[in-house]
Amino acid sequence: MASIRGVSVKSLGLKDDKSVLPYLLLAPGLVYLAVFFIYPIISLGQMSTQTSSGEIGQYKQSFRFANYVDAFLESKEQFSRSFIYATIATILALAIAYPLAYAIAFKSGRWKNILLVLIVAPFFTSFLLRTIAWKQILGEEGPVIKVFRTLHIISPQTTLTATSFAVVTGLAYNFLPFMTLPLYASLERIDPRTLEASGDLYANGFTTFRKVTLPLSMPGVVAGTLLTFIPAAGDYINAAILGSPSNKMLGNVIDARFFKIVDYPTAAALSFTLMAAILIFVTVYIRKAGTEELV
Protein backbone atom coordinates (compact mmCIF):
# COMPACT_ATOMS: atom_id res chain seq x y z
CA MET A 1 0.00 0.00 0.00
CA ALA A 2 2.82 2.36 0.89
CA SER A 3 4.20 2.36 -2.63
CA ILE A 4 0.78 2.98 -4.14
CA ARG A 5 0.21 5.85 -1.78
CA GLY A 6 3.70 7.20 -2.46
CA VAL A 7 3.05 7.32 -6.18
CA SER A 8 -0.36 8.90 -5.83
CA VAL A 9 0.96 11.61 -3.50
CA LYS A 10 3.77 12.40 -5.91
CA SER A 11 1.54 12.54 -8.98
CA LEU A 12 -0.80 14.88 -7.15
CA GLY A 13 1.92 17.47 -7.40
CA LEU A 14 1.06 19.03 -4.05
CA LYS A 15 2.17 22.62 -4.00
CA ASP A 16 4.73 23.35 -1.33
CA ASP A 17 3.26 26.77 -0.89
CA LYS A 18 4.32 28.76 2.13
CA SER A 19 1.43 31.16 1.58
CA VAL A 20 -1.59 31.48 3.82
CA LEU A 21 -3.96 30.31 1.07
CA PRO A 22 -4.45 26.74 2.31
CA TYR A 23 -5.22 28.07 5.79
CA LEU A 24 -7.73 30.54 4.36
CA LEU A 25 -9.43 27.62 2.58
CA LEU A 26 -9.45 25.51 5.74
CA ALA A 27 -10.43 28.17 8.25
CA PRO A 28 -14.22 28.46 7.73
CA GLY A 29 -14.87 24.71 7.72
CA LEU A 30 -12.50 23.83 10.54
CA VAL A 31 -13.75 26.67 12.75
CA TYR A 32 -17.27 25.40 12.08
CA LEU A 33 -16.30 21.86 13.13
CA ALA A 34 -14.50 23.19 16.21
CA VAL A 35 -17.58 25.14 17.33
CA PHE A 36 -20.27 22.63 16.40
CA PHE A 37 -18.48 19.30 16.80
CA ILE A 38 -15.58 19.62 19.27
CA TYR A 39 -17.21 22.11 21.63
CA PRO A 40 -20.46 20.11 21.89
CA ILE A 41 -18.46 16.98 22.72
CA ILE A 42 -16.77 18.96 25.51
CA SER A 43 -20.21 20.13 26.69
CA LEU A 44 -21.32 16.51 26.72
CA GLY A 45 -18.27 15.62 28.82
CA GLN A 46 -19.06 18.39 31.29
CA MET A 47 -22.68 17.33 31.50
CA SER A 48 -21.71 13.73 32.20
CA THR A 49 -20.29 14.50 35.66
CA GLN A 50 -23.05 16.87 36.81
CA THR A 51 -25.75 16.10 39.34
CA SER A 52 -29.30 17.29 39.71
CA SER A 53 -29.73 20.61 41.45
CA GLY A 54 -33.21 19.73 42.62
CA GLU A 55 -35.33 20.96 39.73
CA ILE A 56 -36.00 18.76 36.70
CA GLY A 57 -33.64 19.57 33.84
CA GLN A 58 -31.37 21.73 36.05
CA TYR A 59 -27.90 20.43 36.84
CA LYS A 60 -24.77 21.62 38.60
CA GLN A 61 -21.19 20.56 38.06
CA SER A 62 -19.99 18.31 40.86
CA PHE A 63 -17.41 16.17 39.01
CA ARG A 64 -19.23 13.01 39.97
CA PHE A 65 -17.39 10.43 37.89
CA ALA A 66 -19.46 7.74 39.58
CA ASN A 67 -22.14 8.77 37.05
CA TYR A 68 -20.22 6.66 34.60
CA VAL A 69 -20.14 3.62 36.85
CA ASP A 70 -23.83 3.93 37.66
CA ALA A 71 -24.80 4.46 34.04
CA PHE A 72 -22.69 1.55 32.85
CA LEU A 73 -23.91 -0.87 35.50
CA GLU A 74 -27.52 0.08 34.87
CA SER A 75 -27.32 -0.54 31.14
CA LYS A 76 -24.46 -2.98 30.65
CA GLU A 77 -26.89 -5.42 29.09
CA GLN A 78 -27.90 -2.95 26.35
CA PHE A 79 -24.27 -1.92 26.03
CA SER A 80 -23.04 -5.41 25.25
CA ARG A 81 -26.09 -6.03 23.07
CA SER A 82 -25.21 -2.97 20.96
CA PHE A 83 -21.74 -4.34 20.31
CA ILE A 84 -22.88 -7.91 19.68
CA TYR A 85 -25.67 -6.86 17.30
CA ALA A 86 -23.39 -4.42 15.47
CA THR A 87 -20.66 -7.07 15.10
CA ILE A 88 -23.02 -9.72 13.72
CA ALA A 89 -24.72 -7.17 11.44
CA THR A 90 -21.32 -6.05 10.13
CA ILE A 91 -20.24 -9.63 9.36
CA LEU A 92 -23.60 -10.29 7.69
CA ALA A 93 -23.34 -7.11 5.61
CA LEU A 94 -19.79 -8.06 4.58
CA ALA A 95 -20.96 -11.50 3.48
CA ILE A 96 -23.77 -9.98 1.40
CA ALA A 97 -21.83 -7.00 0.05
CA TYR A 98 -18.53 -8.63 -0.95
CA PRO A 99 -19.89 -10.79 -3.80
CA LEU A 100 -22.12 -7.89 -4.82
CA ALA A 101 -19.17 -5.49 -5.04
CA TYR A 102 -17.10 -8.21 -6.75
CA ALA A 103 -19.79 -8.74 -9.40
CA ILE A 104 -20.06 -5.00 -10.07
CA ALA A 105 -16.29 -4.53 -10.26
CA PHE A 106 -15.46 -7.52 -12.48
CA LYS A 107 -18.58 -8.91 -14.15
CA SER A 108 -20.84 -5.99 -14.98
CA GLY A 109 -19.28 -4.61 -18.17
CA ARG A 110 -21.11 -1.55 -19.39
CA TRP A 111 -23.77 -1.87 -16.69
CA LYS A 112 -21.25 -0.86 -14.05
CA ASN A 113 -22.38 2.74 -13.54
CA ILE A 114 -26.07 1.85 -13.51
CA LEU A 115 -25.49 -0.90 -10.93
CA LEU A 116 -23.49 1.51 -8.75
CA VAL A 117 -26.37 3.98 -8.85
CA LEU A 118 -28.74 1.15 -7.88
CA ILE A 119 -26.64 0.39 -4.78
CA VAL A 120 -27.25 3.91 -3.43
CA ALA A 121 -30.75 4.32 -4.88
CA PRO A 122 -32.67 2.75 -1.94
CA PHE A 123 -31.20 5.53 0.22
CA PHE A 124 -33.57 7.97 -1.38
CA THR A 125 -36.64 6.22 -0.10
CA SER A 126 -36.54 7.28 3.52
CA PHE A 127 -34.74 4.68 5.63
CA LEU A 128 -37.54 4.84 8.18
CA LEU A 129 -40.06 3.93 5.47
CA ARG A 130 -37.89 1.02 4.36
CA THR A 131 -37.43 -0.24 7.92
CA ILE A 132 -41.17 0.00 8.52
CA ALA A 133 -41.70 -1.80 5.20
CA TRP A 134 -39.56 -4.68 6.50
CA LYS A 135 -41.63 -4.72 9.67
CA GLN A 136 -44.80 -5.09 7.62
CA ILE A 137 -43.30 -7.63 5.19
CA LEU A 138 -42.08 -9.85 8.03
CA GLY A 139 -44.92 -8.98 10.42
CA GLU A 140 -48.03 -10.91 11.41
CA GLU A 141 -50.09 -9.46 8.55
CA GLY A 142 -47.29 -9.85 5.99
CA PRO A 143 -46.84 -12.46 3.28
CA VAL A 144 -43.60 -14.09 4.50
CA ILE A 145 -44.87 -15.41 7.79
CA LYS A 146 -47.98 -16.93 6.17
CA VAL A 147 -45.88 -18.80 3.60
CA PHE A 148 -43.43 -19.98 6.28
CA ARG A 149 -46.24 -21.21 8.52
CA THR A 150 -48.06 -22.98 5.70
CA LEU A 151 -44.84 -24.75 4.72
CA HIS A 152 -44.16 -25.54 8.41
CA ILE A 153 -40.77 -23.86 8.26
CA ILE A 154 -41.61 -22.10 11.50
CA SER A 155 -44.09 -23.01 14.19
CA PRO A 156 -47.34 -21.01 14.54
CA GLN A 157 -46.03 -19.33 17.72
CA THR A 158 -42.76 -18.14 16.20
CA THR A 159 -42.65 -14.56 14.99
CA LEU A 160 -40.12 -12.95 12.69
CA THR A 161 -40.46 -9.39 13.97
CA ALA A 162 -39.83 -8.37 17.57
CA THR A 163 -36.79 -10.66 17.60
CA SER A 164 -33.04 -10.08 17.71
CA PHE A 165 -32.95 -11.73 14.27
CA ALA A 166 -35.10 -8.91 12.84
CA VAL A 167 -33.01 -6.20 14.50
CA VAL A 168 -29.69 -7.62 13.27
CA THR A 169 -30.89 -8.15 9.69
CA GLY A 170 -32.44 -4.68 9.77
CA LEU A 171 -29.09 -3.19 10.77
CA ALA A 172 -27.27 -5.18 8.08
CA TYR A 173 -29.83 -4.08 5.50
CA ASN A 174 -29.76 -0.39 6.37
CA PHE A 175 -25.99 -0.02 6.23
CA LEU A 176 -25.39 -2.32 3.24
CA PRO A 177 -24.50 0.52 0.79
CA PHE A 178 -21.90 1.82 3.26
CA MET A 179 -20.28 -1.61 3.06
CA THR A 180 -20.63 -2.16 -0.68
CA LEU A 181 -19.21 1.13 -1.97
CA PRO A 182 -15.77 1.04 -0.26
CA LEU A 183 -15.48 -2.67 -1.17
CA TYR A 184 -16.24 -1.84 -4.78
CA ALA A 185 -13.75 1.05 -4.76
CA SER A 186 -10.88 -1.17 -3.63
CA LEU A 187 -11.83 -4.16 -5.83
CA GLU A 188 -12.12 -1.91 -8.87
CA ARG A 189 -8.53 -0.72 -8.41
CA ILE A 190 -7.16 -4.28 -8.70
CA ASP A 191 -5.36 -4.82 -12.00
CA PRO A 192 -7.06 -7.84 -13.64
CA ARG A 193 -3.63 -8.92 -14.88
CA THR A 194 -2.60 -9.79 -11.32
CA LEU A 195 -5.50 -12.26 -11.26
CA GLU A 196 -4.47 -13.68 -14.64
CA ALA A 197 -0.89 -14.00 -13.43
CA SER A 198 -2.10 -15.96 -10.43
CA GLY A 199 -4.01 -18.30 -12.77
CA ASP A 200 -0.93 -18.70 -14.97
CA LEU A 201 0.97 -19.81 -11.88
CA TYR A 202 -1.54 -22.67 -11.46
CA ALA A 203 -3.56 -21.16 -8.65
CA ASN A 204 -7.18 -22.25 -8.82
CA GLY A 205 -10.04 -19.81 -8.42
CA PHE A 206 -10.20 -20.14 -4.67
CA THR A 207 -6.46 -19.79 -4.14
CA THR A 208 -6.39 -16.71 -6.37
CA PHE A 209 -9.15 -15.19 -4.31
CA ARG A 210 -7.48 -16.02 -0.98
CA LYS A 211 -3.95 -15.01 -1.95
CA VAL A 212 -4.50 -12.14 -4.38
CA THR A 213 -7.99 -10.63 -4.50
CA LEU A 214 -8.79 -10.64 -0.78
CA PRO A 215 -5.47 -9.12 0.41
CA LEU A 216 -5.66 -6.42 -2.26
CA SER A 217 -9.21 -5.53 -1.24
CA MET A 218 -8.39 -5.21 2.47
CA PRO A 219 -8.57 -1.38 2.54
CA GLY A 220 -12.14 -1.68 1.29
CA VAL A 221 -12.96 -4.36 3.86
CA VAL A 222 -11.63 -2.16 6.67
CA ALA A 223 -13.39 1.01 5.49
CA GLY A 224 -16.65 -0.85 4.81
CA THR A 225 -16.73 -2.66 8.15
CA LEU A 226 -16.06 0.60 10.01
CA LEU A 227 -18.72 2.53 8.10
CA THR A 228 -21.18 -0.24 8.95
CA PHE A 229 -20.14 -1.01 12.51
CA ILE A 230 -20.03 2.57 13.83
CA PRO A 231 -23.56 3.64 12.86
CA ALA A 232 -24.93 0.19 13.70
CA ALA A 233 -23.52 0.30 17.25
CA GLY A 234 -25.17 3.67 17.90
CA ASP A 235 -28.44 2.95 16.14
CA TYR A 236 -31.73 2.66 17.97
CA ILE A 237 -34.25 2.92 15.14
CA ASN A 238 -33.97 -0.71 14.05
CA ALA A 239 -34.32 -1.91 17.63
CA ALA A 240 -37.29 0.41 18.16
CA ILE A 241 -39.14 -0.64 15.00
CA LEU A 242 -38.09 -4.26 14.45
CA GLY A 243 -37.30 -5.35 17.99
CA SER A 244 -39.13 -5.95 21.24
CA PRO A 245 -38.26 -4.36 24.61
CA SER A 246 -35.83 -7.22 25.19
CA ASN A 247 -33.84 -6.21 22.09
CA LYS A 248 -33.13 -2.65 23.24
CA MET A 249 -29.72 -1.27 22.39
CA LEU A 250 -27.68 1.45 24.06
CA GLY A 251 -29.10 4.06 21.68
CA ASN A 252 -32.60 3.35 22.97
CA VAL A 253 -31.41 3.90 26.55
CA ILE A 254 -29.71 7.20 25.69
CA ASP A 255 -32.79 8.35 23.78
CA ALA A 256 -35.09 7.47 26.67
CA ARG A 257 -32.77 9.13 29.23
CA PHE A 258 -32.84 12.33 27.24
CA PHE A 259 -36.47 12.59 26.27
CA LYS A 260 -38.54 10.41 28.59
CA ILE A 261 -36.68 10.44 31.90
CA VAL A 262 -34.91 13.80 31.37
CA ASP A 263 -31.75 12.53 33.04
CA TYR A 264 -29.14 14.38 30.99
CA PRO A 265 -26.02 13.45 33.01
CA THR A 266 -26.64 9.71 32.67
CA ALA A 267 -27.46 10.12 28.97
CA ALA A 268 -24.28 12.14 28.52
CA ALA A 269 -22.18 9.58 30.42
CA LEU A 270 -23.59 6.76 28.28
CA SER A 271 -23.00 8.70 25.05
CA PHE A 272 -19.45 9.43 26.11
CA THR A 273 -18.82 5.79 27.00
CA LEU A 274 -20.24 4.66 23.66
CA MET A 275 -18.02 7.08 21.76
CA ALA A 276 -14.92 6.11 23.74
CA ALA A 277 -15.62 2.39 23.28
CA ILE A 278 -16.08 2.84 19.54
CA LEU A 279 -12.92 4.94 19.20
CA ILE A 280 -10.86 2.36 21.09
CA PHE A 281 -12.36 -0.41 18.99
CA VAL A 282 -11.68 1.47 15.75
CA THR A 283 -8.08 2.28 16.70
CA VAL A 284 -7.29 -1.32 17.63
CA TYR A 285 -9.02 -2.58 14.50
CA ILE A 286 -7.14 -0.23 12.17
CA ARG A 287 -3.82 -1.16 13.82
CA LYS A 288 -4.61 -4.86 13.44
CA ALA A 289 -5.81 -4.54 9.87
CA GLY A 290 -2.70 -2.52 9.13
CA THR A 291 -4.14 0.20 6.98
CA GLU A 292 -4.59 3.89 7.51
CA GLU A 293 -5.99 4.65 4.11
CA LEU A 294 -9.35 5.75 5.39
CA VAL A 295 -10.02 9.34 4.60
Partner: protein, 265 residues
Protein backbone atom coordinates in the same frame (compact mmCIF):
# COMPACT_ATOMS: atom_id res chain seq x y z
CA UNK B 1 -29.30 -31.08 -14.92
CA UNK B 2 -25.60 -31.16 -15.71
CA UNK B 3 -26.08 -28.18 -18.00
CA UNK B 4 -27.86 -26.33 -15.26
CA UNK B 5 -25.13 -26.93 -12.68
CA UNK B 6 -22.48 -25.88 -15.18
CA UNK B 7 -24.39 -22.69 -16.01
CA UNK B 8 -24.91 -22.06 -12.33
CA UNK B 9 -21.26 -22.47 -11.40
CA UNK B 10 -20.24 -20.16 -14.23
CA UNK B 11 -22.79 -17.53 -13.38
CA UNK B 12 -22.94 -18.04 -9.62
CA UNK B 13 -21.66 -14.56 -8.90
CA UNK B 14 -24.23 -13.00 -11.25
CA UNK B 15 -27.09 -14.96 -9.69
CA UNK B 16 -25.84 -13.89 -6.30
CA UNK B 17 -25.64 -10.24 -7.36
CA UNK B 18 -29.19 -10.44 -8.69
CA UNK B 19 -30.39 -11.81 -5.33
CA UNK B 20 -28.45 -9.09 -3.54
CA UNK B 21 -30.13 -6.35 -5.53
CA UNK B 22 -33.52 -7.96 -5.02
CA UNK B 23 -32.94 -7.92 -1.25
CA UNK B 24 -31.91 -4.27 -1.46
CA UNK B 25 -35.02 -3.29 -3.37
CA UNK B 26 -37.78 -5.36 -1.72
CA UNK B 27 -38.73 -2.60 0.77
CA UNK B 28 -38.53 0.03 -1.99
CA UNK B 29 -40.99 -1.92 -4.15
CA UNK B 30 -43.17 -2.56 -1.13
CA UNK B 31 -43.27 1.16 -0.29
CA UNK B 32 -44.09 1.98 -3.91
CA UNK B 33 -46.81 -0.68 -4.18
CA UNK B 34 -48.49 0.40 -0.95
CA UNK B 35 -48.59 4.01 -2.16
CA UNK B 36 -51.46 2.76 -4.34
CA UNK B 37 -53.29 1.14 -1.43
CA UNK B 38 -56.83 2.29 -0.79
CA UNK B 39 -56.22 2.05 2.94
CA UNK B 40 -57.35 5.22 4.67
CA UNK B 41 -55.35 6.06 7.79
CA UNK B 42 -53.41 2.90 8.50
CA UNK B 43 -51.54 1.47 5.53
CA UNK B 44 -51.00 -2.03 6.90
CA UNK B 45 -53.07 -4.42 4.80
CA UNK B 46 -53.76 -4.34 1.06
CA UNK B 47 -57.32 -3.14 0.52
CA UNK B 48 -57.45 -2.37 -3.20
CA UNK B 49 -55.84 -0.27 -5.89
CA UNK B 50 -56.29 3.50 -6.05
CA UNK B 51 -54.39 6.51 -7.41
CA UNK B 52 -56.05 8.95 -5.03
CA UNK B 53 -52.97 9.12 -2.78
CA UNK B 54 -50.87 10.23 -5.73
CA UNK B 55 -53.48 12.82 -6.72
CA UNK B 56 -53.51 14.24 -3.22
CA UNK B 57 -50.07 13.72 -1.62
CA UNK B 58 -50.75 16.43 0.98
CA UNK B 59 -53.94 14.65 2.05
CA UNK B 60 -52.56 13.44 5.39
CA UNK B 61 -52.50 16.16 8.05
CA UNK B 62 -49.15 17.96 8.45
CA UNK B 63 -47.33 15.74 5.98
CA UNK B 64 -46.52 18.48 3.47
CA UNK B 65 -45.50 20.90 6.20
CA UNK B 66 -43.03 18.24 7.38
CA UNK B 67 -41.85 17.70 3.81
CA UNK B 68 -41.41 21.45 3.34
CA UNK B 69 -39.28 21.67 6.48
CA UNK B 70 -37.15 18.75 5.31
CA UNK B 71 -36.61 20.35 1.90
CA UNK B 72 -35.77 23.71 3.47
CA UNK B 73 -33.31 22.18 5.96
CA UNK B 74 -31.83 19.93 3.26
CA UNK B 75 -31.30 22.73 0.75
CA UNK B 76 -29.73 25.24 3.14
CA UNK B 77 -27.54 22.60 4.83
CA UNK B 78 -26.40 21.24 1.46
CA UNK B 79 -25.33 24.66 0.17
CA UNK B 80 -23.42 25.55 3.34
CA UNK B 81 -21.80 22.12 3.79
CA UNK B 82 -20.81 21.93 0.13
CA UNK B 83 -19.07 25.33 0.25
CA UNK B 84 -17.24 24.66 3.53
CA UNK B 85 -16.34 21.09 2.56
CA UNK B 86 -15.14 21.94 -0.95
CA UNK B 87 -12.79 24.62 0.39
CA UNK B 88 -11.26 22.11 2.81
CA UNK B 89 -11.00 19.50 0.05
CA UNK B 90 -9.03 21.91 -2.15
CA UNK B 91 -6.65 22.75 0.69
CA UNK B 92 -6.09 19.03 1.39
CA UNK B 93 -5.91 18.00 -2.26
CA UNK B 94 -3.70 20.78 -3.51
CA UNK B 95 -1.38 22.06 -0.77
CA UNK B 96 1.26 20.88 1.60
CA UNK B 97 0.83 22.55 4.93
CA UNK B 98 1.57 21.97 8.58
CA UNK B 99 -1.41 20.58 10.46
CA UNK B 100 -2.44 18.31 7.64
CA UNK B 101 -2.90 15.18 9.73
CA UNK B 102 -4.79 17.11 12.42
CA UNK B 103 -7.13 18.36 9.71
CA UNK B 104 -7.61 14.82 8.41
CA UNK B 105 -8.40 13.64 11.93
CA UNK B 106 -10.91 16.45 12.46
CA UNK B 107 -12.64 15.47 9.21
CA UNK B 108 -12.63 11.76 10.07
CA UNK B 109 -13.91 12.06 13.66
CA UNK B 110 -17.49 13.21 12.93
CA UNK B 111 -17.86 10.21 10.60
CA UNK B 112 -16.53 7.89 13.30
CA UNK B 113 -18.93 9.22 15.92
CA UNK B 114 -22.36 7.58 16.16
CA UNK B 115 -25.23 9.87 15.25
CA UNK B 116 -26.76 9.60 18.67
CA UNK B 117 -23.59 11.04 20.24
CA UNK B 118 -23.49 13.88 17.71
CA UNK B 119 -27.15 14.64 18.35
CA UNK B 120 -26.89 14.39 22.12
CA UNK B 121 -23.75 16.54 22.32
CA UNK B 122 -25.22 19.34 20.20
CA UNK B 123 -28.43 19.30 22.21
CA UNK B 124 -26.39 19.50 25.43
CA UNK B 125 -24.50 22.51 24.09
CA UNK B 126 -27.68 24.25 22.92
CA UNK B 127 -29.34 23.65 26.29
CA UNK B 128 -26.27 24.99 28.13
CA UNK B 129 -26.31 28.11 25.98
CA UNK B 130 -30.05 28.55 26.44
CA UNK B 131 -30.78 28.01 22.73
CA UNK B 132 -34.22 26.49 22.06
CA UNK B 133 -34.06 23.49 19.67
CA UNK B 134 -35.74 24.24 16.34
CA UNK B 135 -35.09 24.93 12.68
CA UNK B 136 -31.76 26.81 13.00
CA UNK B 137 -30.15 24.35 15.45
CA UNK B 138 -31.21 21.53 13.11
CA UNK B 139 -29.58 23.22 10.11
CA UNK B 140 -26.43 23.85 12.18
CA UNK B 141 -26.34 20.14 13.06
CA UNK B 142 -26.91 18.98 9.49
CA UNK B 143 -24.15 21.21 8.08
CA UNK B 144 -21.80 19.76 10.72
CA UNK B 145 -22.32 16.09 9.84
CA UNK B 146 -22.41 16.74 6.07
CA UNK B 147 -19.07 18.60 5.84
CA UNK B 148 -16.92 15.47 6.26
CA UNK B 149 -18.77 13.56 3.56
CA UNK B 150 -18.38 16.51 1.17
CA UNK B 151 -14.64 16.74 1.90
CA UNK B 152 -14.10 13.02 1.26
CA UNK B 153 -16.08 13.03 -1.99
CA UNK B 154 -14.55 16.19 -3.49
CA UNK B 155 -11.04 15.25 -2.34
CA UNK B 156 -11.30 11.92 -4.16
CA UNK B 157 -12.24 13.77 -7.35
CA UNK B 158 -9.33 16.22 -7.00
CA UNK B 159 -6.92 13.34 -6.40
CA UNK B 160 -8.06 11.62 -9.61
CA UNK B 161 -7.32 14.67 -11.80
CA UNK B 162 -4.44 14.53 -14.23
CA UNK B 163 -2.06 17.29 -13.05
CA UNK B 164 -0.75 17.63 -16.61
CA UNK B 165 -3.98 19.36 -17.62
CA UNK B 166 -3.24 22.18 -15.21
CA UNK B 167 0.41 22.27 -16.26
CA UNK B 168 -0.73 22.54 -19.88
CA UNK B 169 -2.94 25.51 -19.03
CA UNK B 170 -0.03 27.19 -17.25
CA UNK B 171 2.23 26.50 -20.26
CA UNK B 172 -0.35 28.30 -22.39
CA UNK B 173 0.13 31.39 -20.21
CA UNK B 174 -2.98 31.04 -18.09
CA UNK B 175 -2.36 32.52 -14.66
CA UNK B 176 -3.18 30.60 -11.52
CA UNK B 177 -6.72 32.00 -11.21
CA UNK B 178 -7.54 31.42 -14.89
CA UNK B 179 -6.23 27.86 -14.64
CA UNK B 180 -8.41 27.26 -11.63
CA UNK B 181 -11.54 28.76 -13.18
CA UNK B 182 -11.20 27.35 -16.70
CA UNK B 183 -9.56 23.98 -16.05
CA UNK B 184 -9.58 22.81 -12.43
CA UNK B 185 -13.07 23.88 -11.38
CA UNK B 186 -14.91 22.41 -14.41
CA UNK B 187 -13.03 19.13 -13.89
CA UNK B 188 -13.86 19.00 -10.17
CA UNK B 189 -17.49 20.10 -10.72
CA UNK B 190 -18.93 16.55 -11.08
CA UNK B 191 -17.33 15.67 -7.73
CA UNK B 192 -18.87 18.75 -6.12
CA UNK B 193 -22.26 17.86 -7.62
CA UNK B 194 -22.00 14.30 -6.30
CA UNK B 195 -21.02 15.63 -2.87
CA UNK B 196 -23.98 18.02 -2.84
CA UNK B 197 -26.36 15.20 -3.78
CA UNK B 198 -24.89 13.03 -1.02
CA UNK B 199 -25.18 15.87 1.52
CA UNK B 200 -28.80 16.50 0.55
CA UNK B 201 -29.75 12.85 0.82
CA UNK B 202 -28.02 12.52 4.22
CA UNK B 203 -29.77 15.63 5.49
CA UNK B 204 -33.17 14.79 4.05
CA UNK B 205 -33.12 11.27 5.48
CA UNK B 206 -31.64 12.09 8.88
CA UNK B 207 -33.74 11.20 11.86
CA UNK B 208 -31.56 10.72 14.94
CA UNK B 209 -29.66 14.03 14.99
CA UNK B 210 -32.76 15.90 13.85
CA UNK B 211 -34.87 14.36 16.57
CA UNK B 212 -32.45 15.69 19.19
CA UNK B 213 -32.18 19.23 17.88
CA UNK B 214 -35.41 20.13 16.13
CA UNK B 215 -37.68 20.58 19.15
CA UNK B 216 -41.25 21.03 17.90
CA UNK B 217 -40.27 21.38 14.22
CA UNK B 218 -41.43 18.30 12.29
CA UNK B 219 -39.40 16.93 9.39
CA UNK B 220 -40.49 14.18 7.01
CA UNK B 221 -38.58 11.38 8.82
CA UNK B 222 -39.91 12.68 12.15
CA UNK B 223 -43.42 12.62 10.71
CA UNK B 224 -42.97 9.01 9.59
CA UNK B 225 -41.57 7.94 12.96
CA UNK B 226 -44.38 9.57 14.92
CA UNK B 227 -47.00 8.23 12.52
CA UNK B 228 -45.57 4.70 12.71
CA UNK B 229 -47.15 4.18 16.12
CA UNK B 230 -50.69 4.63 14.80
CA UNK B 231 -50.18 3.58 11.15
CA UNK B 232 -48.50 5.48 8.37
CA UNK B 233 -50.74 7.23 5.85
CA UNK B 234 -50.22 6.07 2.24
CA UNK B 235 -49.23 9.63 1.33
CA UNK B 236 -45.92 9.01 3.10
CA UNK B 237 -45.31 6.16 0.65
CA UNK B 238 -46.15 8.51 -2.22
CA UNK B 239 -43.57 11.04 -1.01
CA UNK B 240 -40.92 8.37 -0.31
CA UNK B 241 -41.42 6.84 -3.77
CA UNK B 242 -41.36 10.26 -5.48
CA UNK B 243 -38.06 11.13 -3.78
CA UNK B 244 -36.67 7.82 -5.02
CA UNK B 245 -37.67 8.48 -8.64
CA UNK B 246 -36.59 12.14 -8.60
CA UNK B 247 -33.16 11.22 -7.23
CA UNK B 248 -32.82 8.41 -9.78
CA UNK B 249 -33.66 10.80 -12.64
CA UNK B 250 -31.19 13.41 -11.36
CA UNK B 251 -28.39 10.83 -11.07
CA UNK B 252 -29.04 9.26 -14.48
CA UNK B 253 -29.32 12.70 -16.15
CA UNK B 254 -25.98 13.61 -14.55
CA UNK B 255 -24.45 10.39 -15.89
CA UNK B 256 -25.69 11.06 -19.43
CA UNK B 257 -24.46 14.65 -19.25
CA UNK B 258 -20.97 13.62 -18.15
CA UNK B 259 -20.83 10.89 -20.82
CA UNK B 260 -21.71 13.49 -23.45
CA UNK B 261 -19.00 15.80 -22.18
CA UNK B 262 -16.50 12.98 -22.24
CA UNK B 263 -17.50 12.14 -25.82
CA UNK B 264 -16.87 15.77 -26.81
CA UNK B 265 -13.35 15.71 -25.38
Amino acid sequence: MKKLTRWLSKNLIRVYAFLGFTYLFIPVFYTFAFSFNDAGRSNLVWKGFTVKNWKNPCGAPDICMALGNSLKIGLISTILATILGTLIAFALGRYKFTGRSTTNLLIFLPMATPEIVLGASLLTMFLNLGVTPGLVPTIIAHVMFCISFVVVTVKARIASLDPRLEQAAMDLYANEWQTFRRVTLPLVAPGIAAAALLAFSLSFDDFIITNFNSGTVTTFPKFVYTAAARGIPAQANVIGSSMFFIALIVVIAGQILSNKRKAKI
